[in-house]
């Protein structure tokens, strides 16, 4: 395992994809905390179980910024369940291989944030379902 980032990581650092926030997100998820150093935030827009828009922000090291960027690309325009299945090794592949030693936490950080955004979306949906009637909502979407 090298102690240097490969050029794909640096490319994501310099040209990160899907950076920002959404005005009306279907869900928002955040992981990490400033006390331990790294924070990732994902906002997702979901239409008919598809991720139509993903935006992210990261306060953290290069690995976190690049992993967030790569994950946003992998998840966007996918069915929710497919997006939820993006794994640590998918992310590593997208980043050109294993991250330097001690940097693998970046993968968990951004995946956690994305999964929490999904959870937020499902929680909101569950609320809607309860208002609209559980039986109808349960097999519609989300």
């Amino acid at each position: 395992m090298s102690d240097r980032y490969n050029p794909r990581v640096i490319e994501h650092l310099v040209r990160p994809r899907n950076v920002g926030e959404l005005e009306a997100p279907s869900g928002i998820g955040e992981s990490g905390d400033t006390a331990c150093g790294d924070v990732a935030r994902f906002a997702v827009a979901i239409e008919e179980n598809r991720l139509v828009e993903v935006r992210y922000k990261v306060y953290g090291c290069v690995a976190c910024i690049a992993a967030g960027s790569a994950l946003s690309e992998l998840a966007c325009d996918r069915h929710l369940l497919e997006a939820a299945r993006v794994s640590r090794s998918d992310l590593e592949d997208a980043l050109g291989g294993a991250l330097p030693e001690g940097k693998a936490h970046a993968l968990t950080l951004v995946l956690d944030a994305l999964h929490k955004a999904f959870e937020d979306h499902w929680n909101k949906k569950a609320g809607t379902m309860l208002v609209d009637g559980y039986a109808r909502g349960a097999d519609s979407d989300g």
Partner: protein, 392 residues
């Protein structure tokens, strides 16, 4: 500067000066028959002469006698020899005083002594990074084997009141070691005036080769060796001398002495341009005293950004700068610079610290280009960051 790296990390190491390379080459390319300086024959005598010429040059740089200059393999080795060697020379004294902002070459040896039963007192610094004279004086005890404070800090570039500290130690009769690795070649160093006991130097910080250091040991100061063997360097640093490297150190020392003032004013003008340009960006703050600092050092905390990202973003734009504090991992935890924490900075300020160090060959154009790249990097990385200035 298309396709060329602008090197702004001179505190890490400096490029080898052409004249230094020239002085070294004849000892490497076979132009001179290579002898061992300890050998009696002519090639040995020639090698000895080279070593002694270099010793005299390094001695002149710090106003020492040649006999007080010992060559080592690095600044770190010189620091180790001083701290371990001074302690070992007074085995009945089991207390060591160091500043809270020493280089690991000193702090780690002190920790090693601590594990062996020594008591170590770390003297604090103010928010400006300067060691408190009163706290230092109070820390000294009758059983203090040695005290060590660096001349100038390797991270924030703050220059310590070494003359006063050395005076306090002399009055107390306690050996005083000074790591002058960053200071040499940037500040006038005169051991005939400043009563240090030992002083560490390194060639590659002043345009000499890597792998050569010096420990100045004042005549009469007792130091025990930490490396044993053939008894070279007055028995204090056994091992055949690195003749080419030492020749390089000699040449680098001559140039540093001749050009000292010129280099200082050149670097200082560039340094001040970087400080004023960079700190005009909101949330960018200079660490360390703005006046009592090395002529080439700019140390900045940049709100909302981790140093690693900024260093590698700038690297991608063609500017090599140093990271002030490295993010290790979530397992081992972030390691904030002890120097910045000792100065009262927060962990986030420490994680966001970058060190820009200009050199004698840095140009105004390079500094202008750097400030442009720095502005772009900070703006872009803040776009990504969850941590906005408004949140502070």
């Amino acid at each position: 500067m298309p396709n060329a790296v602008v090197y702004l990390d001179h505190a890490a190491t400096t490029p080898l000066d052409d004249k230094v390379l020239e002085a070294m080459l004849s000892h490497l390319n076979g132009a001179i028959l290579r002898g061992n300086p300890s050998s009696l024959h002519a090639p040995g005598a020639a090698a000895r002469e080279t070593v002694e010429e270099a010793r005299a040059s390094v001695a002149r740089l710090v106003h020492a006698e040649p006999g007080e200059v010992l060559f080592t393999a690095s600044g770190t080795e010189a620091d180790n020899l001083a701290v371990m060697g001074l302690a070992a020379a007074q085995p009945d004294k089991r207390h060591v005083v160091i500043s809270a902002v020493e280089h690991p070459a000193v702090t780690k040896v002190a920790e090693h002594l601590e594990a062996a039963g020594y008591e170590v007192t770390k003297v604090g610094v103010g928010p400006d990074g300067i060691t408190s004279l009163s706290e230092f004086a109070e820390a000294l005890r009758p059983d203090t084997a040695l005290a060590a404070v660096m001349w100038a800090n390797n991270e924030v570039g703050v220059v310590q009141p070494v003359e006063e500290l050395a005076g306090i130690c002399r009055e107390a009769g306690i050996p005083f070691h000074v790591d002058a690795v960053q200071a040499a070649g940037r500040l006038p160093i005169d051991v005939s005036r400043v009563p240090v006991s030992t002083l560490a130097l390194s060639a590659h910080k002043l345009y000499g080769p890597q792998g050569v250091g010096v420990l100045y040991v004042r005549e009469g100061v007792e130091v025990e060796p930490v490396i044993f063997g053939g008894g070279q360097e007055k028995g204090l640093r056994s091992g055949t001398e690195n003749v080419a490297g030492i020749a390089g150190f000699g040449a680098a020392a001559r140039l540093a002495l001749d050009d000292l003032e010129e280099r200082r004013w050149h670097e200082q003008a560039l340094r001040d341009a970087v400080i004023s340009g960079a700190t005009s960006i909101p949330g960018v703050r200079l660490n360390g005293d703005p006046r009592e600092r090395l002529s080439n050092n700019i140390h900045l905390s940049v709100e909302g950004i981790e140093a690693e990202s900024l260093v590698l973003y700038l690297d991608a734009l063609g500017y090599a700068v140093g990271s002030g504090s490295a993010c290790a991992s979530s397992i081992t935890g972030h390691k904030a610079s002890p120097v910045l924490l000792a100065m009262g900075r927060t962990e986030n300020e420490a994680f966001s610290a970058v060190r820009i160090t200009v050199g004698k060959d840095t140009t105004e154009e390079e500094v202008e280009g750097f400030l442009h790249a720095f502005t772009i990097a900070v703006t872009q990385l803040r776009e990504v960051s969850t941590f906005t200035l408004a949140e502070r």
